[in-house]
């Protein structure tokens, strides 16, 4: 039973980290352009060079 005292807070803490990450993502505009973000992966940061 002592395991519970460690595991449950651990599970909730992990969940909270995920929740805060989600809040940060929404607040910083990560969901504002879902289509564009999906396409950006194909962009070549190397300027001038065609992909």
């Amino acid at each position: 039973m002592n395991a519970l005292l460690l595991l449950i807070p651990l599970a909730l803490a992990l969940g909270c980290i995920g929740l805060f990450a989600f809040f940060w993502a929404v607040r910083s505009g990560q969901y504002d352009d879902i289509e564009g973000a999906a396409e950006r992966i194909f962009n070549d940061d190397n300027e001038g060079g065609e992909p």
Partner: protein, 733 residues
């Protein structure tokens, strides 16, 4: 006149956008541009890389969903013009982005729903973890101490989450109740709050009936549906906004020193002078100061033939100048334009129509009393007749409310509408109003406007003699001009080489000194021939050794017009044509489209009255129109559609806007609406069957928390899957 007009063009050049530039606190200049023609990540990359290559530009970010480009740079405001020119070189048109308020409100609402969904999902997952332990340990493996700990932990996670994630529902339900009405959110909020209160009291008492997981999964699923719904609608709205952006070209304001500055139409003040180039819409009401031209008034009056206009003539915002450049002396501010009278008609019509009560809200209207009555009966039955104490009897009664909470109902309608809106968007139809689909499903009469609705917005060339050498010559000359008639002539033979040294004489025509003598393409008078009949937009070609040839604009039926009308008839709907144009112009089009019910010469108020008469006679009317003169009729009809090029006021009045030139969008809209209605009805029917099965179980007091959770998830899944069927198969159109 000629000299004045050509003088204006010299002074003009592209107007500067400096007025749209803002200065940030960091000393950087910034402008928001709407970039048209962006459709993939490659376009985004091209534009961003091109701008990033300029060392002065601090940042450039293009949003693919909204086509909005935010650029910030160090230096003068005038750089905005360089940026637009650079984007134009890449082949995209950039215009200032002005609809800040609409998109900002949408974005804020989307963010609220996203965050609420995130919180609900997090809490649901964690409470579910604890609930599983409670369900599995239900048969006695779990000691009362551990059970109490798990219940309290669930409450600790669930209570703040429900308070946060439930806000959209609580707020909406509270607003409805305060007005003495009810909507979908009232039973949802009641269900969630009762579930939470009962679970909390059970936790305190150490009882077994904990439904935190049920309340949270309900919120999660409903919030997801709401968010998708909001996203679909915001996308449709931004599509419509985009059309407005494109139409709301900046107005070229003439500055005292003779140059021009681009300003939003709303910033034009009476007494200012604006320059309207050939082919542009007039931005404000006023009088022509200089310039002889032809004005296309179809968006205002429904007449398709351009009218001649000269100094002293009144012009209205929304008319198109298709002749030579003119200077207009503004008499009213750009945002208080001509359409004041039209706006009054429009408001009157909208007030008369009143609120349409959505199907789901109507269902809830009688659903709520029935379910709440059942819950009361359960309580009284168990307490007075069943011999239970009042506390367990109350638990049974609340369980009935939880099970009967219209979760499937709350999800069935938005999900179906999201799927339907997505499907319509694929066909180029943007749905603006929430209840438009339901209203469209009942339509049994379709009323069309003529100019720009049944016919294409741009007039086409009337048939010309099929002599390739003549077409070639005319097209070669016409390449030198941007005049709409010249463009139409150019399209006769786009391959023809453009002739060198063509002189454009503004307001008159084109002149080319050929080897055998002058060749002219222009007005009858200038070419020295007798003008054709009527106030046509026409041009004559005179060349040595050739008879004079006339090119005239004519109205052209949209592709698919006759087929779409036949289709509407085949589905049992009456089709009527109401036009503001003259009899002689309407009759041939009506005949060509196969319509025998038509009326011509209607004023805007007359059109609205005709539609109102039919609506009062019990007809469900779909009005399709594009002009400012159609707006009151659009607002009067049961449901309305406008094509993408329509005037701002009509696009705003219409429930749906379609893109593209085919009229097939009209039957498609009605077909999808009918299919959506049948799916919504099936889903509502399904919810009733589901309740008919589970409510008696709940009344009998046999429901466990895990049964409630399972039943809720299963019903949500079922209605969602059913809604997805809308995407399959043809529209039945």
């Amino acid at each position: 006149m000629t000299a004045a007009a050509s003088g204006l063009q010299v002074a003009g050049g592209p107007p500067t956008l400096a007025g749209y530039v803002t200065r940030g606190a960091d000393g950087l200049s910034a402008i928001d541009l709407f970039v048209d023609g962006i459709h993939c990540g490659g376009c985004v990359r091209k534009v961003e890389n091109r701008l990033a290559a300029d060392a002065r530009i601090a940042s450039a970010r293009l949003n693919l969903s909204t086509r909005r480009l935010q650029v910030r740079w160090r230096g003068a405001r005038g750089m905005a013009d360089t940026i637009v020119a650079a984007i134009a070189e890449l082949g995209y048109a950039a215009t200032p982005y002005a609809q800040e308020d609409v998109t900002a409100a949408d974005a804020a609402r989307a963010r609220t729903l996203q965050l609420a969904f995130g919180v609900a999902f997090f809490a649901m997952a964690n409470v579910m973890m604890l609930s599983w332990a409670l369900w599995v340990g239900d048969d006695g493996d779990m000691g009362p101490g551990t059970r109490g700990l798990f219940q309290w932990l669930s409450a600790l996670v669930a209570l703040p989450a429900i308070a946060y994630a439930g806000r959209p529902f609580f707020a909406s339900a509270w607003a409805a109740l305060r007005q003495g009405s009810t909507n979908m959110d009232v039973p949802i909020a009641a269900g969630v709050l009762l579930t939470t209160a009962m679970s909390l009291s059970e936790t305190v008492r150490g009882g077994p009936h904990i439904y935190f997981d049920g309340a949270l999964s309900l919120l999660t699923v409903l919030l997801l549906g709401r968010w998708l719904d909001q996203r679909a609608r915001s996308r449709a709205r931004s599509g419509v906004t985009r059309l407005a952006e494109l139409a709301a070209r900046p107005v070229a304001l003439l500055l005292p020193e003779g140059s021009t500055e681009a300003v939003p139409a709303a910033r034009i003040r009476p007494g200012q002078r604006i320059l309207v180039a050939a082919g542009e819409r007039i931005g404000a009401d006023g009088r022509i100061e200089t310039g002889e031209t032809r004005i296309e008034t179809s968006l205002i009056t429904g007449e398709w033939l351009p009218q001649a206009a000269g100094p002293g003539d009144a012009v209205l915002a929304g008319m198109t100048n298709i002749g030579a450049p003119i200077v207009v002396h503004a008499e009213r501010a750009g945002n208080a334009s001509s359409v004041a009278e039209m706006v009054q008609l429009l408001e009157a019509a909208e007030q008369k129509k009143g609120g349409y009560v959505a199907l789901a809200d109507r269902v809830v209207g009688f659903y709520t009393p029935v379910v709440h009555g059942l819950a009361l009966a359960t309580f009284l039955g168990w307490w007075l007749l069943g011999g239970l104490g009042w506390q367990p009897a109350l638990v049974h009664a609340v369980t009935v409310l939880i099970i009967a909470c219209p979760c499937a109902l709350g999800l069935a309608v938005p999900v179906t509408q999201v799927v339907a809106a997505g499907r319509l968007m694929k066909s180029g139809i943007l749905l603006k109003s929430e209840t438009a689909l339901e209203r469209a499903a009942e339509v049994n009469m379709v009323v069309f406007d003529k100019t720009g609705t049944l016919t294409l917005p741009a007039a086409a060339l009337a048939p010309v003699p099929d002599r390739p050498e003549v077409r070639r010559l005319a097209a070669g000359l016409a390449a030198a001009s941007l005049h709409p008639l010249a463009r139409a002539i150019r399209a006769l033979d786009p391959e023809a080489p453009a002739l060198d040294g063509v002189i454009e004489v503004p307001g008159l025509g084109l002149l080319w000194a050929g080897p055998e003598g002058d060749i002219r393409l222009g007005s009858a008078e200038w070419c020295g021939v007798a003008a054709g009949e009527g106030p046509q937009a026409e041009a004559w070609l005179v060349a040595p050794g050739l008879p004079a040839i006339r090119f005239a604009l004519t109205q052209q039926l949209r592709p698919d017009a006759d087929r779409s009308i036949a289709l509407l008839r085949a589905t049992g709907r009456e089709v009527v044509l109401l036009s503001g144009d003259r009899d002689a112009a309407v009759a041939p089009i009506a005949a060509e489209a196969g319509l025998d019910a038509w009326q011509a010469g209607l004023l805007p108020a007359g059109k609205a009255a005709e539609v109102a008469r039919r609506v009062q006679a019990g007809q469900q009317v779909l009005m399709v129109g594009d002009g400012i003169n159609d707006a009151p009729a659009l607002a009067t009809a049961t449901v309305s559609m406008a094509p993408g090029h329509a005037s701002d006021i009509s696009r705003n009045a219409a429930d749906a806007v379609w893109l593209g030139s085919s009229l097939a969008a009209v039957p498609e809209f009605l077909a999808v609406a009918a299919k959506a209605r049948s799916i919504i009805r099936q889903n509502i029917g399904f919810s009733f069957v589901y309740n008919a099965i589970w409510v008696p179980v709940a009344v009998a007091g046999l429901v466990n928390p895990w049964i409630a959770a399972l039943a809720m998830a299963a019903s949500s899944l079922a209605v969602t899957l059913n809604a997805l069927r809308l995407n399959r198969g043809g529209g039945g159109a």
